[in-house]
Symmetry: C3
Subunit: 361 residues, 3 copies
Amino acid sequence: LAASPWSVRVQRLEGGRRQGVELIEVDTGLLRFDVLPTRGMGIWQAHCGGHRIGWRSPVQDGPVHPSLVPLEAWGGLGWLEGFDELFARCGLEWNGPPYRDGDRTYSLHGRIANIPAHDVALEFDDKPPYAITIEGIVDETRLFGAQLEMRSRISAVPGTTRLTVRDQITNRKSQPSGFQLLNHWNLGPPLLEQGSRLVAPVKLLCPRTADAAEVLDRFDIYEAPRPGAPELVYFFELWGTGARDETVVMLKNRASDLAVSLRFSLREQPRFIVWKNHAGTNDGYVTGLEPAVNYPNPRPYETSQGRVIPLAPGESYDVETTFEIHLGKDTVVAVEREIDALRRQGQPVIHPAPLEPYVVP
Amino acid sequence: LAASPWSVRVQRLEGGRRQGVELIEVDTGLLRFDVLPTRGMGIWQAHCGGHRIGWRSPVQDGPVHPSLVPLEAWGGLGWLEGFDELFARCGLEWNGPPYRDGDRTYSLHGRIANIPAHDVALEFDDKPPYAITIEGIVDETRLFGAQLEMRSRISAVPGTTRLTVRDQITNRKSQPSGFQLLNHWNLGPPLLEQGSRLVAPVKLLCPRTADAAEVLDRFDIYEAPRPGAPELVYFFELWGTGARDETVVMLKNRASDLAVSLRFSLREQPRFIVWKNHAGTNDGYVTGLEPAVNYPNPRPYETSQGRVIPLAPGESYDVETTFEIHLGKDTVVAVEREIDALRRQGQPVIHPAPLEPYVVP
Amino acid sequence: LAASPWSVRVQRLEGGRRQGVELIEVDTGLLRFDVLPTRGMGIWQAHCGGHRIGWRSPVQDGPVHPSLVPLEAWGGLGWLEGFDELFARCGLEWNGPPYRDGDRTYSLHGRIANIPAHDVALEFDDKPPYAITIEGIVDETRLFGAQLEMRSRISAVPGTTRLTVRDQITNRKSQPSGFQLLNHWNLGPPLLEQGSRLVAPVKLLCPRTADAAEVLDRFDIYEAPRPGAPELVYFFELWGTGARDETVVMLKNRASDLAVSLRFSLREQPRFIVWKNHAGTNDGYVTGLEPAVNYPNPRPYETSQGRVIPLAPGESYDVETTFEIHLGKDTVVAVEREIDALRRQGQPVIHPAPLEPYVVP
């Protein structure tokens, strides 16, 4: 068995809006993180090297049970009543800002994060590297609508500070269908602070709004919390390498001795989005690092841009993201070098102004 | 006590969207069926003679807890996120397609199927025929609105393949009120297949839409699953007999050796609707046999046609339906003969085109 | 310890729409009442001197779990599907009738009554008067929205017929915010009957609607239940006294031997509203006595009138109300004398017609 001590703990939470939420705590010995089957296999928070990795959401009493999240409320922004995770998926039928189509409201970031997983299973490999895996299936289905199934496997290896999310999305309909997926990784203090930096192999950069365009030259630097600061969003294409067109992005603290990286294949997730929310300390001071199959525009626009992934009946699509925490300057520098190597493929194209609408015209 | 072995099992379901749903499995020895108090006393599925009787809904992880069914979503079609039962009631304040009245959405098929029953009780008769009964009360009530109470009794006799649903709807308001009720019995494979047939003592037949009118001559024959096929709906009046104007309808398989019949009084349920959904195998290949007090049009239209049942303060209305499974050619033929006898009362009136709107004008 | 026998019982309710609701029954020896942490620290009902104090709501199967209350339904009146309490708070971001602002629905009476409390605690003082306290925290928060926290403490002293609700509302946002609060105390039979009377130190009285204006001279007298009677609402200012500008109002039965009083500071709650619902016995025959920080108009109107309480970041506002049951003529007369004394401060100003809109123009 694994040389490092590890553990898995399953709980059902009690009290308030978290009543009935199932939480599975995985501890690799170096990294501890909480999987939330009840919230669509999201990850609530992680702990590593004495740091809490995640963010301080205004939702203080979460994780919130999906039955108490009114997605259609607030003109389709009800998702925000339950949003407090380190990792929340946006999709599967659509994601992005709310929009209306006739009498239908397509609410912010879709439904997947608020659908409880079923057939949740724990797996422990009995051979090296002795991976621990939590599996769960989330069905985003209804009669006369999409029938998208997500089989999610979240794995970690004892003695590492790394976890991997592997989602397989399958079209269970007897007809062609399509899906969208944006992986919303959210980081606040202590990793996020004035002077924190995004390190990314940027191939293309485009601000989502005029606000974001105005401070485009500082897209990779973070400011101190500032109550009332507007959210800033940037859309990216990245450089990758190898057969799977692998890339890596990183958020590091000011001292460059604490960082989080995300690794993913640009074949699977060709888009990347950064959400900078320099809000007040209590108001959601956070940044989102978001590998995605699409940009978070209303689905009709994404469809027109060919960014909804088509799936034949029974067809599947795999998405894998590896999240790692880096402790100490040496490990942070090593990742920076890796990103520098990717950058050498070419100069970034930078659009000084928004290219795309972010509401339905 | 009953000569046949029988049993009743009560469970609370665990995991996914079914978390917390109460399920009562009744086994008569020949027929096993699952009552869902949590979903308004619906019936999830039945098993008989080695066959599963019910349908394969796109909702694969049901039965879904009502707290996770957003009725108002999808322009009022949210009911479809929880719809996977052999038997689901539509009502009580209204049923039919969603419509809006000012700022109010009247969502598809009303609320009753998503209101948990209270005061659920099991009864076992100690004298022949030793009936087993599940009782539950469902309140569709609110201040300044309807106060409709449904006392439902679902009974079965050991050693039979039959169950009876007796619903008593009472107006608990101190003012006159009204209700609608459509009993949605849903059947898929193996009973439903290419060549399955509806056998009914038709007095009047009217297609709901132009689609249905086009294939009117095949209203009683079922096609193979076909992805993307439109749903077809037919409205009926039936012939009955006796003091209670009893009628019977049947769905039989191609070989005529497996069938389901519904018996009901036309005094109680004067309308009958058939929903044919020749969709793909995974997309809800199913037919609905629907005895009802009204047609599933928006309530304002049904009111104009005198098809909302008025109830004085404290007044009740009883609705009883007997569902039976027929195994073997002989039992199927016997029911066909019975229906033939009813048919002899007159030629059916057949309307070649829709007579009624199915949306609010 | 306390000389009087007392008890506290905690239950989680089972069955129907109350499944999972936590109920804490406090018995002072003379007064028994049920606190509902799951329904925002409301109070379901009380028992005293052999009387049930509360009302008979059309919601017969409550208390209803918030996950089954669709606030946005019915054009924003969904709150009424869960409303059956002796005491329900309306707020905190807004209260009053539903209104729309762009694509957002601000539903009837806000969200606080349907948010489960967390960190619920029981406290028993070990020194006189040995108060029993139930504490709970209710968060009305979301990203990009209000972050209002209510710390509620409901206390009673053994051997009394009195309970005190102390709510502390805190702005947890790093930005200025505001809140509204209306305390909805609801009383039906046996206290409410033909000839019951409101006794209040009225400084100003204004009917909310033309209906209410028409019977203005009988604002303080109650009629028998009458199916279909319209609700009548009156807005008040009251006379108070002392450093905290304390006031008291009372509802007494016809015989003046059973009454309920509410005591509160006009500094904390400067408004008072009476809701008279002379409906049929089964339809919600009830009156609401409602101390409040604001009038129940749409928030934009209340903002224009300076009746939304501003809160700086981290700032708190305390609201305390004492509810007491009076058994026997002597105790009722004593409170009447107290109210008479307050009245001597001046003649009431009575507006013969509505002064304020009750819908958004």
